[in-house]
Amino acid sequence: MTKVTVHPTGEVVEVRDGETIMGAFYRTGYAMRIGCKRGGCGFCKIDVHDGAFEYERPVSDEVVTPAEAADGVCLPCRAVPTGDMVVEFRENSLRLVNPLMRYMLSSKEVPARPSHLSTTV
């Protein structure tokens, strides 16, 4: 399980294998500034200070330009960490909206979603 640490607050969220950064934060009681959730609008951009990720789907150069990508700009709705990361959210867009979920999920192992419920695309 990889960890994403939020700069400068020091919050830590555990990310399951194959899970996006957005998915991990939502699962653990947070909300963030999100648009299409599909890597198309660039509304969710965050800045990576440390660590690496890969996108689970192709992301257009028009959404994250090569210069932005080189600067560590990342779309959390599509980015899956490949190791521990340190990231910074813009304009305080990250908010803890459900402290109970945060508490429960940080202290317990929750079974992954059964595969028969997942949608095939």
Binding site: R33, G35, C36, K37, R38, G40, R57, S60, E62
Partner: protein, 305 residues
């Protein structure tokens, strides 16, 4: 009459296989052709060859097609568009799959509008003789047809004049800073050339961007059912199901797999050229757009592709 309707939306998608799944299995359009990196679709109640073109590579709008009633309309609209100061070009028959000669207009909003009179025509899926109400084997939402679109432009008032002068559109509804036409700044317009309440809307914003393109449904309950299907298929819902104050239509906004915003839209009242234009003031913009919640989320006005 010149422009009859918006004929097609041509958009870019990042992954054609995923987009195909969304437009055929979730929305229920029929795939009618594939050509290189493009796939063509139509709804069951459409008779022209296609109404949606998906092109792999990127995200956002390539162009819209508008169907003119008569062949001569192309020359007429060309003259008006050039007089307005827009750049035009002619595209020969066959360069766009199953489409006749095209008048391509680069609009003041930096969008591309293709005006054509001819497209290979067939029949709607229930046939033209003694038809049933709908095909029995609809998939997912079973969207019958493309309905309208919303684009953004730095000068919505300029686009209003362009669409009025070149397409013969009238403004059914608008959001403006004042009720006095001599002293108003236009924030958004909903325009049409038929009884369809809007064919194209323009919102003040960046040039050349797409806000959404919409599919028509008949009844409000179908909009709710569509939202259920989006939940089943993990389609991100932007807003709804709800009703618009503007147009009175029932709606759900959602995103395709590339992040282009789609809508399903049902109802709305009939438009006529002699019906007085409805004006909304910016202080009730939330209610105008989302009648029930009466507030706009940040995403709705800023997320564009």
């Amino acid at each position: 009459m010149a422009i009859m309707r918006m004929g097609y939306a041509h958009v870019r998608v990042t992954d054609l296989a995923e987009a195909r799944q969304h437009y055929t299995q979730t929305l229920g359009l029929n795939e009618v052709a594939a050509d290189g990196n493009k796939v063509y679709f139509k709804g069951w109640d459409e008779w022209d060859h296609h109404s949606v073109v998906l092109e792999e590579g990127g995200v956002g709008l390539v162009k819209f097609g508008f169907k003119a009633q008569y062949e001569d309309d192309l020359a007429d609209i060309e003259k008006k568009a050039q007089a307005f100061g827009a750049t035009t070009e002619r595209i020969s028959k066959g360069e766009e799959l199953e489409v006749g000669e095209i008048l391509r207009i680069h609009t003041p909003s930096n969008h591309i509008f293709d005006v054509y009179h001819e497209m290979t025509s067939g029949q709607v899926d229930v046939g033209n003789v003694n038809p049933e109400a709908f095909p029995r084997d609809l998939r997912g939402v079973g969207a019958p047809a493309l309905d309208h679109a919303l684009i953004t432009a730095e000068d919505a008032g300029l686009m209003e004049r362009f669409l009025h002068e070149c397409f013969g559109y009238w403004t059914a509804e608008k959001v403006a800073t004042s009720l006095d036409p001599a002293d108003q700044h236009t924030i958004a317009v909903w325009m049409t050339a038929t009884t369809q309440i809007h064919q194209l809307a323009v919102l003040e914003g960046p040039q050349s961007k797409l806000h959404h393109f919409a599919f028509r449904l008949e009844e409000g309950w179908e909009v709710n059912r569509a939202a259920d299907l989006f939940a089943m298929d993990d389609v991100p819902i932007d807003v709804g199901p709800t009703r618009h104050g503007i147009t009175r239509g029932k709606t759900v906004y959602f995103f395709d797999p590339a992040g282009n915003r789609n809508e399903v839209f049902a109802g709305g009242y009939l438009s006529f050229p002699d019906r007085p234009m409805v004006t909304w003031t910016p202080d009730v913009l939330g209610k105008a757009i989302f009648y029930h919640a009466r507030e706009l989320n940040e995403r709705f006005t800023t997320v564009l592709t």
